[in-house]
Amino acid sequence: MSESADRRPEFEDLLRELAPQVLGALVRRHGQFESCEDAVQEAVLAASVQWPAEGVPDNPRGWLVAVASRRLIDQMRSDHARRERESALATEQAAEPAPEDVPGGDDTLVLLFLCCHPTLTAASQTALTLRAVGGLTTAEIARAFLVPEATMAARISRAKQKIKAAGSAFAMPEGAERDERLRVVLHVLYLIFNEGYIASSGGELSRADLAREAIRLVRIVHAQLPGDGEVTGLLALMLLTHARRDARTTASGDLVPLDEQDRSAWDRDMIDEGNALVKTSLADTTLGPYQLQAAIAATHAGATRAADTNWKQVYALYLVLERIAPNPMVTLNRAIALAEVEGPEAGLGLLATLDGDERMAGHHRLLSVRAHLLEKTGDTSGAYELYRRAAKATASLAEQRYLERRASRLKE
C-alpha cells in the first residue's frame, strides 16, 4: 500500500495540505463548523475531479475557498443542494481567489483540537480528524477502517452534531485545558498511526497509508509547537516505528519479530530523523510517555544486530515509563527487557505480578510473552500450551499464524 501512496498524484498531496486551511478560513468567516466542513469536503471532491482534467489552478487555495463558499451558500439557500451536489459540481468553474483569505497553520491546529473534542468517542475523533484535517474523503476513510461508506458517513455526521451540541468555539483552548486537549489530539494521531501500523483485526497487517497520514498530521502539529517535548516525542516514535515497516513482514505477509528482522531493510533516513528528534525531545524539562517510548525505539534502532541491543537501557526506560504512566502493558514490556538483562526467570517473576490484573486476564500478549520466556527456560511443553492459548486469544490473523508457528516449532 505504501507503493500506491508513493505514486499518489501531486495534486492529492496539495489538496490534503490545503483542505484544513480552507476549512479554517470558512469557519472564521461563516461560523458553523459542521456546514463548512461539508462544503469543504464537496470542494475537495470537485477538485479531485476537475484538477486532473483541467490542471491545478494558479491559486488552488483561493479556488477551494471560493468553491466551498459557494457550496456553503447554496446549502444555506436550499436543502436540496446537497442531494444534487455531484451533477452540480461537475460543472463548477474555476473561481477567483477570495481577497481576505489568509493562510494559517494555526487554523489547522484549532481544527485538530475541535475534531478531537473530548465528548467524542475515539472512533469518531479519528474519522473526523482524517476528514476535516487530513482532507480524506469519507469513502477513503471508510476503506481504511474496513467499514461501508454509509457507516463512516453516519459516524462523521454524528460527531459533528455532538460538537455543535457542545457549543465549542472555533478558538484555541487556553492554559490547562489546552494541555489536556493537546494530549487527546496526540492520542488520536497515535491511534490513527497504530491502525495503519497493525490492523486491530483482520488479515491485513499494515495499512501504510494511515501511518503516513498520521505522520503527516503530527508534522503539522510539530511545526506549530516545536517546543513541546511530547509532540516531538510522538513524531520520533512514529518515524522510528515506521522505519521498520518493510522488515516486519515477509513477502507472504507473515509477521517477523523484532529480533529476527533484517535490520538492513530498516529505513535509515527515517531512523536518523527520529534519533535527532529523540535527542531534542529528551532535552525537554518534563518527560512524557511518547518521549520515553521514542527513546526505547531509538535504543532498538541503535543496535546493528538484535544481540547488540542495549537491554539495560531499554529496561531503565521502561522503568521510568512505568512510573510516570503506569499500565500493565508497560510492565509486560519491562518484563521482556528484564528477562534479557537478568534471565527468563526474572522476567517470569515480574509477569506473575500481572496475574491479578483484570485488564490482562487471558490477554494474548501476556500469554505469548510468558510462552516466550518459558521457552527460554527450556519448559517447551508449558511454552507450547501457552503459545496455543495465545493464538486462540488474539484477534489478528497475522499474529495468530505467527503464534501457531512458534508452537509448532516446539513440537518438531
Partner: protein
C-alpha cells in the same frame, strides 16, 4: 473493532409468543437498527429462514449428497445476526443487551469479534 452479534432462536419459544410479543420484538429490532445506523456503528444485518428449510450438503467419493437440515440436533438455531463496528468489546456487549431477543428466556444473543473480512459491502 467489528463484532458479529448473532441471535440464536428456538422456534418453539418463538411459536409460544403472543402476537403482541412478536410485534414488540419486531419493533425492538427496528429501533435497534435505527439507533445503530445513526451512531455510525451499523454495518450489516441478515435474518435467516426457518431451520426446517435448511439443506445439508456433503461430498462423498467426489459426489455431492444433499439431505434435509438442519445439521445440528439442537433446540436453538442461528436465526440471524448484526455486524457492527464499535469502540470496544464493552460497547458490543452493551449493544447486544439492547436486542429484544436478549430479554426473552430460551433465546440467546452471542457476541464474537471478527478476525477477517473480505468483500466489503458498498452500502
Amino acid at each position: 473493532m467489528q463484532f458479529l452479534i448473532s441471535m440464536h432462536i428456538n422456534p418453539a419459544v418463538l411459536d409460544a409468543l403472543t402476537d403482541e410479543e412478536k410485534q414488540a420484538i419486531g419493533e425492538g429490532h427496528g429501533k435497534f437498527m435505527a439507533d445503530c445506523k445513526a451512531s455510525g456503528e451499523f454495518i450489516l444485518t441478515q435474518a435467516l429462514t426457518d431451520p426446517s428449510q435448511a439443506a445439508v450438503v456433503s461430498v462423498r467419493n467426489g459426489q455431492p449428497v444433499v439431505t434435509d437440515g438442519p445439521f445440528l440436533e439442537a433446540k436453538e438455531f442461528l436465526g440471524g445476526y448484526y455486524l457492527v463496528d464499535v469502540e470496544n468489546r464493552e460497547r458490543a456487549l452493551e449493544l447486544a443487551a439492547q436486542i429484544p431477543d436478549a430479554a426473552i428466556e430460551g433465546l440467546a444473543v452471542e457476541v464474537r469479534q471478527v478476525m477477517f473480512s473480505d468483500g466489503q459491502l458498498e452500502a
